[in-house]
Amino acid sequence: MSMRPRAHELGVIGCHACGLVCEAPGTTTHATQCLLCGAVLHARRPNSLSLAWALLWAAMIFYIPANLLPVMHTDMLGSSSGSTIAAGIVEFWKSGSYGIALVIFTASVAVPCAKFLIIGLLLVTAQRRTPWARRERALLYRLVEQIGYWSMLDVLVVAIVAGLVKFKSLADIEPRLGILFFGGMVILTMLSAMQFDPRLTWDGNET
């Protein structure tokens, strides 16, 4: 491992908002402001781990009703039915649209589950301050940051479809409660990833 100095060892903090490197306050309890942009500076985001855990648990709880409850309700020529996220994917698959089925599966199942696992892993390892696989964990964090919002896809699809199919008694599609939990889950996971301070990955014992 390289011997490059780290900001907290030198007694400085890099501002997250403008990038200026400022002197860290002597006593840690005292919050300080960036000299250039005025953002509040923290050596480490306060309560990063506990807030990230709380948001992650909330997201995982939301994910259960998101999958069990129907996300939309279809009224078609007199017959009506509700469909869950899984039913939507199966329907695409059966009709031969394998590509679209995969896209929705990725956005609604694979990405959320991968995010739960990755954030959980980052939190556990940061808590233990372990030097294990730091570069890989840093890569996973950047991945979560970049792919997280794609899960919003299903929410927008339901919105567009429900907005279009409004043909009075002939055909009508309405959004249902499941999509609310699903959207909530996406937002909570994004907030959880934002709460996690990636610098914590590099704290603790050297190799």
Binding site: C37, V161, L164
Partner: protein, 204 residues
């Protein structure tokens, strides 16, 4: 309290570097965590501003023109981006309309307006009124813009509906495609660079 303008800290791992002088289009990766933590955009301020204004115009087209037209048993219907997210408000899941509207409509618009505002002044090396707040907002807003997700969402909807309706893509859809490209171009340069390009009239 002192500041050290010659240093830079990787925000992903806290490693300290001497601030490098970068050529446009050049970037550096952190040696410790491999994050690309500093990058100078190829766009100069004038081009950046021009692209921002263009995307604002395209944004209006994308929002005003219908994105999809459908017909069913002789009945026709069409929707705009705005009416799609508003449709959420009428069902039993009213609450969901708020984040949908924010991420697809409000945040991208705000991003373009705020960026245009600071760039307009940055052209002359000045800091726009409210520079500090606007710069902070730009950093905060960035992850909540979901134009590209909306574009894929429209495409998936078209395929979903094509099974039982006659679906025709509208002008709004093409505008969304162009907007996605433009928005990615204007939102990816690091706005923090503007701090060093500008000087304030009053001492900070």
């Amino acid at each position: 309290m002192k500041a050290f303008p010659t240093l830079i800290v990787c925000e992903h791992c806290d490693a300290v570097y001497r601030r490098p002088t970068l050529a446009p289009g050049e970037g550096v990766r952190c040696e410790i965590c491999a994050a690309p933590f500093l990058r100078l955009s190829r766009l100069d301020v004038d081009h950046w501003l021009a692209l921002t204004m263009t995307s604002a115009v395209i944004y209006v087209i994308a929002n005003v023109c219908p994105i999809i037209r459908v017909s069913f048993n002789g009945l026709h219907n069409e929707t705009t981006l705005w009416r799609s997210v508003a449709a959420l408000a009428h069902g039993p899941v009213t609450l969901m309309a708020v984040p949908a509207t924010l991420t697809v409509i409000v945040v991208p618009l705000l991003h373009m307006l705020l960026l245009g505002w600071v760039l307009l002044y940055a052209r002359r090396g000045r800091r726009a009124p409210g520079f500090r707040i606007v710069m902070k907002l730009l950093v905060t807003l960035r992850p909540w813009s979901m134009i590209e997700v909306a574009l894929i969402g429209i495409l998936v909807s078209i395929i979903k509906l094509a099974g039982f309706l006659h679906v025709v893509p509208g002008v709004g859809l093409w505008a969304m495609g162009v907007l996605t490209v433009l928005f990615t171009l204007i939102a990816s340069p690091d706005t923090r660079h503007l701090w060093s390009l500008t000087e304030s009239d009053v001492a900070v």
